[in-house]
Structure formats: C-alpha cells, structure tokens
C-alpha cells in the first residue's frame, strides 16, 4: 500500500503515480484494442471495395433512387384496391395460421426440450442441436422449399411460417419452462397429484403468460415475413409488390408498401393492448 499525501498541491499526479492502472489501460491492452480496430477497419474497407461501392456508382444510384421516389409520389392504387386488400387479408391469415400451428406444435416440444421436465441429458442435448440446425434456415428458404413441394399459393406460405418459427418458439418455451418456480410443483405433488397433473397445475399456469406474449411477438414478426413471402410465390401481398416493381409501377408499389406499414402498425397496437391485458389479468 502506498500512501498519498492528501492536500498535496500535486494530488492528482501523486494518485497517478500510485495507481497507474486506474488512469490508463495497460499498454498491451491498448495495442490489442488498436490492432482489433485496425483489422475490423481493413475488413470493412475490403468489403466496400468488394461490393464496388465507388462514389460514381453511389452518385448514379442515388440519382436513380431520387427519380424512383418521385415516381412513387403520389401513391396510387391503380384501381386494384380490391385485389390489394384481398392479398393483405391473405397475408394476415397466413401469419395467423402459421403462428397458431407453430405454437400448438411447439408447446409439447418445448416440454420435451426442457431440462427439468426431461432429465435425460442425451435426449435434451440432441433435441437442442436439431433446433440449432433448423434455426439457421431463413424463412424465405423454407418458402422456396414448400413452393417447390406443394405448389405456389398461401398454403406453402403457412407451412413456411409454421416450420421456420418452430425451432425459435420451442427454444423460448423450453427456456420459460426451465425457469419456473419449483415450489408450486412440490406443493401440487405433495397434495397427491401425479407428474402430468403437476405439470398441468403448477407449470402451465406459470409459463402461459410468457407463451402467449411470445406468440403475439411472433405473430407481429410473421405479418412482416408473410408480406414478403409472395416474392417467391408463397402467397400474400408480396406477390403484388414484386409484380408492380417488375413492371415499374412505382406509385402502386409505394401504395402497397404503405398498406403493409399500416397493417403492421395496427397489428402491433392491438397486440400491445392484448399483452397489457394479459399481464394485468394475471
């Protein structure tokens, strides 16, 4: 322990001399941070070069983008409002059904993936790894696969949403189940209930709010996802959007984008209200 004379005119200097590590990071750490920063910067600059982000190209593209935005305004439905509304409802239906299917299937799977319900390490570990693998596949890839397998249309979209959500929801449910309080389970079992009744009366009430809340989040995100699945032919408003962009009807493309934004906003608002209601009711 070094002593520092409090009240010294050069107090700060004395503190600095006594505890250099408080005033500056060690030299090795500083050099390492600098090297990491330089390496990341080098990768970033290489990336800019690789994607050909030359000023000339950026300028030309920005001009075209300005031109596009002028074409988008004012947005117009081009007399196809009925078709668009129908496609939007189809999108919402796909998102709803996909989320519902996925939640229903993920519910029992979540119990299987939970460490405290299935104590067998091998089962639990293998199950988790399968989920990890499935999580790497984007929803558009699932949509491509299902369109190829069951044909174009919203049915393929529903399956793509359900299957791509399944590993995420199962993992979230399993984590919620692993985090339950053990005491109610013991109480129910002490009153003479068997294992299944213990789960029903002590685990389910604890995890239900988490599950419903996650379902609502996934419904919100699925509405956004369902809006683009049409690009690969899996139904919904994305088909209309990609078609209007393909034939350069930018005012109608803008109209569809605004419809999507409004729908997403309304859904977010409603699900926020439902979530608040559920949290209040519990």
């Amino acid at each position: 322990m070094s002593t520092v004379n409090v009240g010294d005119s050069n107090e700060l200097g004395a503190w600095r001399a006594a505890h250099p590590e408080l005033f500056a990071r060690p030299l090795a750490e500083r050099w390492r941070n600098r090297l990491v920063f330089l390496a990341l910067l080098a990768v970033f600059l290489f990336g800019l070069w690789w994607i050909d982000a030359t000023p000339a190209r950026l300028l030309y593209g920005s001009q075209r983008l300005g031109f596009l935005i002028r074409l988008m305004l004012p947005p117009s439905d081009g007399g196809a409002l009925g078709i668009y509304i129908n496609a939007l409802i189809e999108t919402l239906a796909m998102a709803f059904l996909g989320t519902a299917l996925s939640s229903v299937i993920a519910f029992p799977l979540g119990f299987l993936a939970a460490r405290n319900i299935v104590p067998n390490f091998a089962v639990h570990f293998a199950f988790r790894r399968v989920l990890d693998v499935l999580r790497g596949i984007d929803i558009l890839i699932w949509a491509l696969i299902f369109v190829a397998a069951v044909g174009m249309g919203p049915f393929a979209g529903v399956l793509a949403i359900a299957v791509s959500d399944l590993p995420f929801l199962t993992k979230l449910y399993a984590e919620a189940i692993e985090n339950v309080d053990r005491k109610p389970i013991e109480a129910v079992q002490a009153a003479g209930a068997n294992r299944l009744l213990g789960i029903r009366l002590a685990v389910v009430p604890q995890v239900l709010p988490v599950i419903v809340s996650n379902m609502l989040y996934f419904f919100e995100s699925n509405v956004r996802a369902a809006a683009i699945l049409g690009i690969v032919g899996a139904g919904g408003i994305g088909l209309q959007l990609s078609q209007e962009i393909l034939v350069n009807n930018w005012d109608q493309a803008c109209f569809i984008i605004i419809m999507m934004l409004v729908a997403v906003g309304v859904i977010d608002f409603i699900s926020r209200r439902i979530r608040a209601w559920i949290m209040g009711a519990r």
Binding site: D52, A93, G136, A149, P154
Partner: protein, 296 residues
C-alpha cells in the same frame, strides 16, 4: 361461541360466492377468447387455402422433396461422392464469404447510423420534441419496411450485385438497432450527465462523455446479435438479385439441381451456426470483462 360460528359461516359463504363469481368470469373469458381464436383460425384457413387434407398430403410431399435433395453417398466411393455433391465448392465458399462480408459491412454502417440517431430518439436525452419525433419516425420507417423490399428497390436503383444488399441490410439495421439503442439510453444514470453538463459541455460532448460509457457494452451486445441476424437474412437477399449465396440457391431450386440445394443449404446452416457461436463467445467475453470492471 355459536355467534362466532355464525359469522364464520357467513364469511365462508361470502368467500365461496366471490370465488364462484370469479371462477365464472374466468371461465367465460376463456370461452370467449377460445371461440374468437377458433373462428379466426377457421377464417384464416379459408383465406389461405389451408385444409387438413392438404396438410396430410402436403407434408409427405414436402418431406419427399427434401429427401430427394439428399445426395447418394456410398461408403466405398465416399470421396468421389462428396466431390460430386460439392462440385462447385470453391464458388460456393466465395459466395458464402461474400454473404458474411455483406452482413459485416451492412452491420457496421447500420450500427454507426443507429449510434448517431439513437441519442436524439431517447426522450430523456433530448428536449426538442420535433427532433425527437423526427428521429423516432425515421427509425420506424427504416425497420418496418422488410429488408427484402429495400433490397428490391435498391437493386433497381444501383443495379444487381452485393451493393444494394449491403444498403438494404444497413437501412434495416439502422432502424432495428436505433430503437434498441434508444431504449438502453432511456435507462442511463442521470448523474454523470449533470456532472458533465455542469462543467460546461455542449450536447454532443455530454452524449460522448456521460452517456456512451454507460451504454457501450449493451450496444456492443446488440450489434453482435444483429450481425447474427443479418448473416441469416443476407443468405436470401440474392433471391432478389442483391448478392450473396441466395441467388445460387434460388437458381438450383429453379433448375431442379436437387443435390445442389442440400449442399448449399447445409453450407448456409454451417456458416450461420459458426457466426452464432463466434458472436456468443465475443459477447460473453465483453460482458464478463464489463462485470469485472464494475465489481473491482
């Protein structure tokens, strides 16, 4: 004594009545919610052409399709079979590297933009309501339009290639991270702000010296999570011509090159899992280091 029993019975009766009433409303609520959900499910099934028959025949079809993409590998000729399966391995690796590079550049640009916008989008850090409102709406617009839609627009403006993909990722990342960053900002300790302000600093200096040190570890954690997400979404941007492995995958599906499909999807899964693991390791390192700094 009997009087006491009488009041006890009365109180018990009252309890039973409220309990029964509560139970009735709960049951009614559950019933109403259940009926609404079932009606919505049926309406959705009608709208999306979803039928149980379709499901029963569709799932085996889907599995048949997936199974048909698997290569035929034989133990005796394993090397040659693997070689035939991954016949375009160098090209695919390059495209995968491009995918990761795209998400890296897009994440960096988006994070910097989100960092610049997040302070003015936090209610506790900005006094001017128009600036706050404008930043919020800008971030909302950037994250609500799906990145694929941005990619389609940018492909038209900038031409086919990874550039529009990077821009789409950057814009979407700005919106998503800006919102998360501003939520972190709204929880900062206000005392350092007052300290820096009292010594006469202007607004950007206050943000730099009083807010940034508090929020940086959280920001870094969100950036890493976003990078993982972006690698996944960059793998499909090629479908609309915005670079990366997606276009190759789309082509192989379109041209019925079955074994190519499984080869590419497997490579995507491996790359996504590797990024997840790397980012998780970095995140744990950063978090544990910060935890040490606060306790010492």
């Amino acid at each position: 004594m009997p009087a006491e029993t009488a009041t006890q019975t009365a109180r018990l009766d009252a309890f039973e009545r409220t309990y029964a009433a509560k139970q009735r409303t709960m049951r009614l609520q559950t019933l109403v919610v259940g009926v609404v959900l079932v009606v919505l499910a049926f309406a959705s099934a009608r709208m999306s052409e979803f039928t149980l028959d379709g499901l029963v025949s569709g799932l085996p079809d889907a599995w048949g399709y997936i199974a048909s993409t698997f290569p035929s590998l034989h133990w005796a000729t394993l090397g040659a079979d693997l070689g035939a399966w991954y016949w375009a391995f160098p090209r695919w690796t390059e495209l995968l590297a491009e995918t990761v590079l795209m998400s890296f550049v897009g994440t960096v640009i988006g994070s910097v933009a989100a960092l610049l916008l997040c302070f003015s989008a936090s209610r506790n850090l900005i006094r001017s309501t128009p600036v706050y409102f404008l930043s919020r709406r800008l971030l909302e617009l950037a994250r609500t339009v799906p990145d694929t839609v941005y990619a389609m627009i940018f492909v038209f403006a900038f031409g086919i290639g990874p550039l529009p993909g990077v821009m789409a990722i950057a814009v979407h990342t700005t919106g998503a991270l800006g919102k998360l960053f501003s939520e972190v900002n709204e929880d900062v300790d206000i005392r350092p702000l007052e300290g820096v302000k009292a010594s006469g600093a202007n607004w950007p200096t206050i943000m730099r010296l009083a807010v940034l040190p508090q929020v940086l570890p959280n920001f870094l954690s969100y950036v890493l999570l976003r990078f993982e997400y972006n690698v996944r979404s960059a793998s499909v941007l090629g479908i609309v011509g915005a670079g990366g492995i997606g276009e190759e995958l789309y082509l192989s599906i379109r041209q019925f090159d079955y074994t190519d499909i499984s080869a590419i999807v497997l490579l995507i899964i491996i790359v996504v899992m590797m990024t997840d693991l790397t980012c998780e390791a970095i995140r744990h390192r950063v978090i544990s280091k910060e935890a040490l700094r606060f306790t010492s």
